[in-house]
């Protein structure tokens, strides 16, 4: 049923234009929200992987060399 209804869908030429507009709307939204973020938060997030998890191996050269 739905298939038959949609077989007569028109305005295919709008698909491309809508797609581009949709992208720019999303992109602009993300951009604005991201620019709002404050530096302390960003710094804290960026440092997340740097928290030590395993004791680091000694920094000398490898054993074999």
């Amino acid at each position: 049923m739905i298939r038959n209804v949609l077989e007569h869908i028109g305005g295919i030429e709008w698909y491309g234009i809508i797609s581009i507009l949709l992208f720019f709307a999303c992109f602009a939204g993300v951009l604005v929200r991201t620019l709002w973020l404050k530096k302390p938060f960003l710094d804290r997030m960026a440092a997340q992987p740097l928290e030590p998890d395993l004791p680091e191996p000694a920094p000398e050269e490898s054993r074999h060399d």
Partner: protein
């Protein structure tokens, strides 16, 4: 524990290192297997004897084995190793379920082994990077669900409020791969290891390349970007260059990527508006891709001196650079005028290997060299050996990629070259094949070097493991998330927008799903539902029973790996092959067999071009009809009996998918086959060839002679008339 810790309800827990080690070992092992299969395939292209005259070792079956092994076994295991390590630490939580972790591991290895058995056996759907048959597809879906539940469960149990950027990429990977895999694998079984895609022709092509392109995006790119965002700062001991940039680049990347699939089908019978949309979005992809690359490279600001010393960073810098090169080249190749030259040539192969060898390979190697010493609480056994690996691998990559760039451009130009009289300069396709053989030899030298590098890595990692003590669980402490403030105090600035989103994994996942679904739906729904996109051609009829079985042999032998069935609307192609392909000609093709590479010529207008006896001799020994040909021999087709018992089940399956076989067609399938076989045998006699009618070669000849003949108004001379519905 201090009073403050007690107030914060600090919990002690253990990270699971066993699962990380298991995936790391599998990564190194399958890396070696996958690249060795690739090396064999590369050598077969200039030394056809290496096909060994057995069905299991011919190029058409080895090539999918190689691509599946590298993508799903090597990169897949590498991705899981990195995710299982970093996710636990970024969430400050053990994985949600150890049982799911091990189901993920053993299930994935079982799928890889199943692929390694079924692909050489010729059990394939023929759809690139989705060749595995339906029972294995179901297993993939199950294992992927286990992984996704484990991922999301871990996020819900996390002790770190905000999800780091790497985790966003993992979420996007889990969701999108599931969507892609399910929709592209929809097929109707016609036996234990045989199925027909529910899509036909152009729809199948579009869905396949929506999948194929995004398999590159969401299996080879997004998880590895996540790994880059975790392991590169770790190795450099520097925070990522710009967290802001990572947010913008993430959303732009996952939104745009999904639209770009149609660039694999430029100048084909795909509707023009879809082609243009795919091209525009592909070009736009440069921006987020380079955002990621620059963010990676600039993370090393002030730490470049470390790159000189540390092989881990060396591998990672080359990986990120290769990512940058591949993601500039990809959109370039998606421009229609460039694609006109590059498509079907080695240029595409060079492009994907910049990504696979450079980006995925080198990032994996860097990650393993970083990870193993830490899991074993020791130092890398030999930094010198790792440096050798780096230089040998880099040289190998160069020797691999550069010659086949030359090969691709050379062959593409030769295909299009006209002489002063207006005829094709290289009318014989074979001339163009022979010209690029030296490049293929050089490429194999590069591949050998790359494999040697992996062997060195395996030795180094094994020795490292032997010299240390494995830490199965790492103890850690963190306050429980529920005891941390759920709402910020009003004085804290910036509590809105993305910061909020990073604390709500479920909402985040839903938004990611929406972002990736929009592109797919806008492109594919009209293809499904609007008849005007697929004009029907009255002369196009379903395959006869014998042709159908011949087509299944064509699929089984992987002919599509080297032969396209899509004549593009260029004078250079219509002169060489004949009338360009029309979308309406493929309405009964489950699956489509347009192909993506012309190691041999296009076959879409091959029907009726040569006599039946030519095909018989050619399949027995290609050099007998085409001196210098690099095509494998297919002697088994001449001796194997055709399994005709399956034909009615297959016709019924196809009828359920919309192919108009009547009850009478199905009931009389065996008689019709016998009649067509007899006519082909008679034709062969004219060409001085004696053959049994019940051999596989007869069915294959029936199919090859049918190709592209419908619109000529003279279907294959041997074809019986089907009654239709």
């Amino acid at each position: 524990m201090t009073a403050r810790d007690r107030n914060m309800n600090v919990e002690t827990f253990r990270y699971d290192n066993r699962i990380v080690r298991a995936f790391a070992i599998a990564t190194a092992f399958w890396g070696l297997v996958g690249t060795l299969a690739g090396l064999l395939a590369a050598c077969q292209l200039f030394w056809p004897g290496l096909n060994l005259d057995t069905p299991f070792t011919t190029f058409g079956r080895i090539r999918p084995l190689h691509t599946n092994a590298v993508i799903f076994a090597f990169v897949g295991n590498g991705m899981f190793a990195g995710i299982y390590y970093s996710l636990q630490r970024l969430c400050k939580a053990r994985m949600f379920s150890d049982a799911l972790s091990w189901i993920n591991f053993w299930g994935w290895q079982a799928i890889i082994v199943a692929a390694a058995i079924t692909l050489p056996l010729g059990l394939t759907t023929s759809k690139e990077y989705a060749e595995l048959e339906w029972p294995i597809d179901l297993a993939i879906a199950g294992v992927w669900v286990a992984f996704t539940v484990n991922l999301l469960g871990t996020l819900l149990r996390r002790r770190e409020k905000h999800m780091y950027v790497a985790i966003w990429f993992y979420i996007a990977t889990a969701i999108t791969v599931a969507v892609l895999h399910i929709f592209n694998s929809l097929a109707l079984p016609a036996g234990a290891f045989k199925s027909y895609s529910i899509y036909a022709g152009v729809q199948d092509a579009l869905v396949q390349w929506w999948y194929g392109h995004n398999a590159v995006a969401f299996f080879l790119t997004t998880p590895y970007l996540g790994l880059m965002y975790y392991f590169l700062p770790k190795a450099a001991d520097r925070p990522v260059f710009s967290y802001r940039l990572s947010i913008i680049h993430f959303w732009a990347l996952i939104f745009i990527y999904i639209w770009a699939g149609p660039h694999h089908l430029l100048y084909t019978a795909l509707p023009d508006w879809v082609q243009s949309l795919g091209m525009v979005f592909s070009v736009m992809l440069v921006a987020p891709s380079w955002g990621g690359m620059l963010n990676g490279l600039l993370t090393l600001r002030g730490a470049w001196d470390k790159v000189r010393q540390d092989p881990v960073l060396k591998f990672m810098v080359v990986a990120v650079t290769a990512y940058g090169m591949a993601t500039l080249e990809g959109p370039t190749l998606a421009v229609k005028s460039v694609n006109a030259l590059s498509h079907y040539t080695d240029w595409t192969i060079a492009h994907v290997h910049t990504g696979a060898l450079g980006w995925n390979g080198f990032l994996t190697f860097g990650m393993l060299y970083w990870l193993l010493p830490r899991l074993y609480q020791t130092r890398l056994w030999s930094t010198k050996l790792a440096n050798y690996h780096f230089w040998i691998g880099l040289l190998g990559m160069m020797f691999y990629v550069v010659p086949i760039y030359v090969s691709g451009v050379t062959q593409g130009l030769m295909w299009k070259q006209f002489n002063a009289d207006g005829f094709l300069q290289y009318g014989n396709f074979l001339e163009t094949t022979l010209r690029i053989i030296p490049m293929h030899m050089l490429r194999a030298v590069g591949g050998t070097l790359y494999v040697v590098g992996i062997v060195l890595m395996c030795v180094n990692l094994y020795k490292t493991a032997r010299s240390g003590q494995f830490v199965p669980d790492t103890e850690a402490q963190a306050p429980a998330l529920r005891t941390q403030p759920t709402r910020p105090e009003k004085k804290v600035p910036g509590w809105h927008g993305h910061r909020w989103l990073e604390g709500v994994p479920v909402t985040f996942t839903v938004l990611v799903t929406l972002a990736i679904l929009v592109g797919g739906l806008v492109e594919i729904i009209p293809m499904y539902l609007i008849k005007s996109n697929v004009p029907t051609i009255a002369a196009v009829k379903p395959y006869t029973p014998l042709e159908l079985l011949g087509r299944d042999i064509y699929i089984r032998e992987g002919c599509v790996a080297c032969h396209s069935q899509m004549v593009r609307p260029f004078r250079s192609e219509t002169e060489r092959y004949g009338e360009y392909s029309k979308v309406g000609e493929f309405v009964y093709d489950h699956p489509f067999l347009w192909g993506s590479k012309r190691t041999g010529p296009d076959l879409h207008r091959g029907g009726g071009k040569y006599p039946d006896a030519w095909h018989y001799n050619h399949m027995e020994n290609p050099v007998s009809t085409s001196p210098g040909s690099i095509m494998p021999r297919y002697p088994w087709l001449l001796t194997r009996k055709l399994d005709t018992n399956v034909v009615q089940v297959r016709m019924k399956t196809l009828r359920r998918l919309g192919v108009p076989y009547s009850d009478q067609d199905i009931a009389q399938a065996h008689q019709q086959m016998a009649a067509q076989q007899t006519r082909i045998v008679q034709n062969l006699k004219v060409g001085m060839v004696e053959a049994e009618p019940d051999r596989e070669i007869i069915a294959l000849i029936a199919y090859l002679q049918r190709l592209g003949t419908d619109i000529k108004g003279s279907p294959a001379s041997t074809a019986p008339q089907l009654t239709g519905p």
